[in-house]
Symmetry: C2
Subunit: 353 residues, 2 copies
Amino acid sequence: MIKIVGIGPRREDMTLSALKALEESDVVIGYGSYTRKIIDLLDGKEVISKGMGQEVDRAEIAIKYSKKGYQVVIISSGDPGVYGMANVIYQLMGKYSQVEVEVIPGVTAVNYSAALLGSPLHDFAVISLSDILTPLSEIKRKVIAAAEADFIISFYNPRSKRRTEPLKEALKILRNIRSPQTPVGLVKTSDKGSEISIVSLQDLDEEEVDMNTTLLVGNSFTYVDEGKMITPRGYMIPHSTHPLADEFYQKYLAGEGIKGSNNVCEYYPCHNHPQNCTFCYCPFYPCGDPSTGGYWIKEKQVWSCEGCTWIHQDDTVKCIEGKLPQLLGKVEDLQDKKKELLKLRRECVYLTK
Amino acid sequence: MIKIVGIGPRREDMTLSALKALEESDVVIGYGSYTRKIIDLLDGKEVISKGMGQEVDRAEIAIKYSKKGYQVVIISSGDPGVYGMANVIYQLMGKYSQVEVEVIPGVTAVNYSAALLGSPLHDFAVISLSDILTPLSEIKRKVIAAAEADFIISFYNPRSKRRTEPLKEALKILRNIRSPQTPVGLVKTSDKGSEISIVSLQDLDEEEVDMNTTLLVGNSFTYVDEGKMITPRGYMIPHSTHPLADEFYQKYLAGEGIKGSNNVCEYYPCHNHPQNCTFCYCPFYPCGDPSTGGYWIKEKQVWSCEGCTWIHQDDTVKCIEGKLPQLLGKVEDLQDKKKELLKLRRECVYLTK
């Protein structure tokens, strides 16, 4: 039996299954820097360390030992199914019959990095920038697709001393498609631990990136707060509506609302001229999404819309008005249908940003 | 301090960090079915179980306890950063100051499912099909992008009794873009364990899919062998070239090769008529990639090209000839530049499939 075991990014991220597989093994095969990490677990076992780039050798040795009846463990850092040894073994397995293989999953770099950075993930794409086995044209096609569809993107193997072009190309694509302010997290991991930094897409210095770095590019909603990279999923934050907002939507629903700029209002323009006042009170308050300019006043735990003018753009109003009548039948729906309203908001943010 | 802890898909996939965080905690908050799984680890702790859909409540309770000085653990199954509690906590954190939070990453469903299915991953996209917080238009846009760029796609929360439309739409998109033979892995996990099945995209019955299923859609290279779903990364399989192939490429490099159909050959057409014989001997042999029709004869450990006619298509020959002169200067390059040759093959497979 061959077990392909992910030992995770750090010793403490190893799973109970991985530990058990190592305990039960006779032979442990892996890249030297991985076997050294867990040397205290390898007492009395045959340890075969092979260098990088000798993946097929390692796999052939594992198959040979397994056929002799040994319990063999091949170790990968992170998860063995993500650019690790699982693909190599299975690709070679086609040549042989009667070799039993089991994959023991582990914590992979995207999850590890996300945990250190805060909570940057929503729908995400994982792309290896190594062009050793993959043509650059294919890598670029994937980066374009992921960038355009606003996936969070995690780049593995982003850059080595000799392999600098794929990252250069990826950044060129991202800078063409995504906002220059998009937060990018860098997690550099060595034996001494992990260092994190968060920069904007425009400020990212590719020279800072090496083979031990995992990159995480945010989506349109990702923001940075107190040094953490956060992508809100759009949860509803409990809140009662303001009496003046209730009154405003009574009128709105009775067809007596404001249309366009409300020049006669004593506060006009409360944000900027010309502003569309159709939704003087935002139907999504509090959205909790800083991507349009709002923020929490922490001392008061109050959501401030001071920096957000999105709701007062003509195209925003048009998008919202297209679907609002289906959701808002009575004032109470501002609370009762908040989830649906926040979804409509998200849809319109994408159409109008 | 609040620790947001991923307990993995199964008990044995829990990490050492997760165990330690639970040990050191005073209060453990989580969905009932998660806390029940680890009830033996919760002795002497205050356990607060909340139902699904009460994410914000759970987060507010955690913050409250943490402010009182308790060590609080919030548990998520899998990894808390992937559609788990990390985003909720961080989104709410904006309201408060001086709350310390740490995320303990875990094995998420895509890695767990991949391990059970074989080694299906290469570059991949993770998409939640839940349209509770995300507009369907956004989900569809992401599925189209991932399908077109040939990502492996993992769908989380694919279908519930009431939420059937997103999966229907996703499958419609996939069936429009991807080959009907694309392998799709289904991993259904319950308290009793996990059940796996692998079907083709055309045969996938959406009624088989529920909330506890993770779906994994292969890319153009994914194949099924002995019940395992495998995506080859394109590793070079050691092999010496055949003397007749050496002779063939001597002539090819001397400009005395065959062009187009070799009607005078006694074996013509060895595959089908009209076949292009320019690469009578395949310069990529053995590619180890069944996606064009080749396969291993296991008893002999020999790669058979019998089912592959790809190398004999005119457009394939044209694509290869465009770049081969840069790689192949002498016959030995068939071995020495095999990695580069396999990359060229991959590029041409994408252009001609």
